[in-house]
Amino acid sequence: MVFPRRAAAIVGVYTTRQARSLDKTSYSLQLEAMKGALDDAGLTLADVDGILPFDRSAYSTSPFAAQVWATQLGGRALSFAEPGSPTTGIPKAALAISAGMCNVIVAFWGKAGWKLGPGATAVPDEAPRVAEWHYALFGGGYAHFYALWAQRYLHEFGLDSEDLAQVAVTHRDHATLNPESVMGSRGPISVDDVLSSRMVSSPLHLLDCALDTDGGYAVVIASAEIARNCRKPPVWILGGAEAMHTDFYATIDDPWFPTSGQSVSKTAEIAFGQAGVTRDDIDVAGLYDCFTVTMLRDLEELGFCKLGEGADYFREGHTRLGGSMPCNTDGGLLSNSHNGMPHGMHTIEVVRQLRGECGPRQVPNAKIGLSLAQGASVHGYAGTLIMATD
């Protein structure tokens, strides 16, 4: 069996304003993003017959997000509804379109008014009850869990904080060329700036951590027939895959960095096979950089370098603008925006690169791009997508 390359394309993308705090609701951001991405494609709501909703709605009128959205979108039958996140769900969206299940799918997300970070939260009046063995029992959260992972990673491969910090420096450099990024206007940072930023959870300093911002975005995927008549040039889906590996920050197996790879590795193997391209063919990429350490692990798991060599590979400059495969040219989650579920943000930047819309940060002659989203128990869950221009 072969993946139906170029049977579906990304035809519309949109990002709302991204900021530390937006005076809007999550729902409102999702609606804005959905409408914006359809407009970018030159399509209307009436064209939509599939959705990739990650969030539910403002009202709990159904246990299934898709039912709520089908009603919100006018009350009609949606023939594709996949609860996967943007990027991880897009390969399945392409398959559904190629199989005739639907024609136009919108993936969307928006978040405002809540934070992911480890910042101080109110002390309750009595002990809250949480799931058994959950990290919350011990004062853990996302950043702390990634810190445990980073500490073990540095230990196993003989690396240090400077190896991590270089990622934040490069992604900030990229953000300075992206006027829509949250941190670009603050200017570049140095390795010393990262190392002297306050420690959040060792070995992760503040500037090793993603932003914790509000914002929304949407991606429209359409059939080849529709794509050819859209407002913007199509960005074809060549291949992609999603994989699950572990539960939600509870089970930690040893080795934590198996040579056989984890979810990201699995999706890369499948996606490259489907796309019929090699790693050397990738002109531009957007890799999940929720923490500096994540970026290094992405490069290893995707097979751009070997296990434990992510820091050396990164230092060689391949992923910088001007390098052989610029990555996270928008500034990434570290310096552009992390809006709670930013799984589609990297895909959107790669689409803009492949369209040639990126101005001062444009990668010349970008034809083939790759995006990666990951999460859960640090590489427990992943989606890789390979895209190309005409």
Partner: protein
Amino acid sequence: MPDTRTAARPYLKPLPEISDLNRPFWDGLGRHELRVPRCADCGDFNWVPYPACRTCLSENQRWTVVSGDATVFSFTVVHRGPGAFDADVPYVLALGQLVEQPRPCNVLANLVGIDPGAVRIGMPIRLGYVEIPDEDVTMYEWLPR
């Protein structure tokens, strides 16, 4: 004798929801025992507990008392913590790998009784028990060994 202390009141950090499925574990802690599901068919330990063995999918698992001895598999010194934990910074979160094998069990808990700057991967630790005043649960923490 296991190390036991009683937490200060009021205890405002999260506590576990006790269910029929997980009760043997929490009852064990109340007796100052660490119980880990071990597959009676293939012999592997499973942590965190799942309804069936992760190696052979057998439901024939037994809550098995283990020594509570471990080594630090990884750790982090936390400088920003949620809720009531923020008053404790800097505090240590550690994954302790139980000495019992096969299948390494990495158990997450706070590591106390040591200067956070002195914690190292590989150092020996042991489980301590924390009585929670006015609550029906005993918690656990890592201590230097």
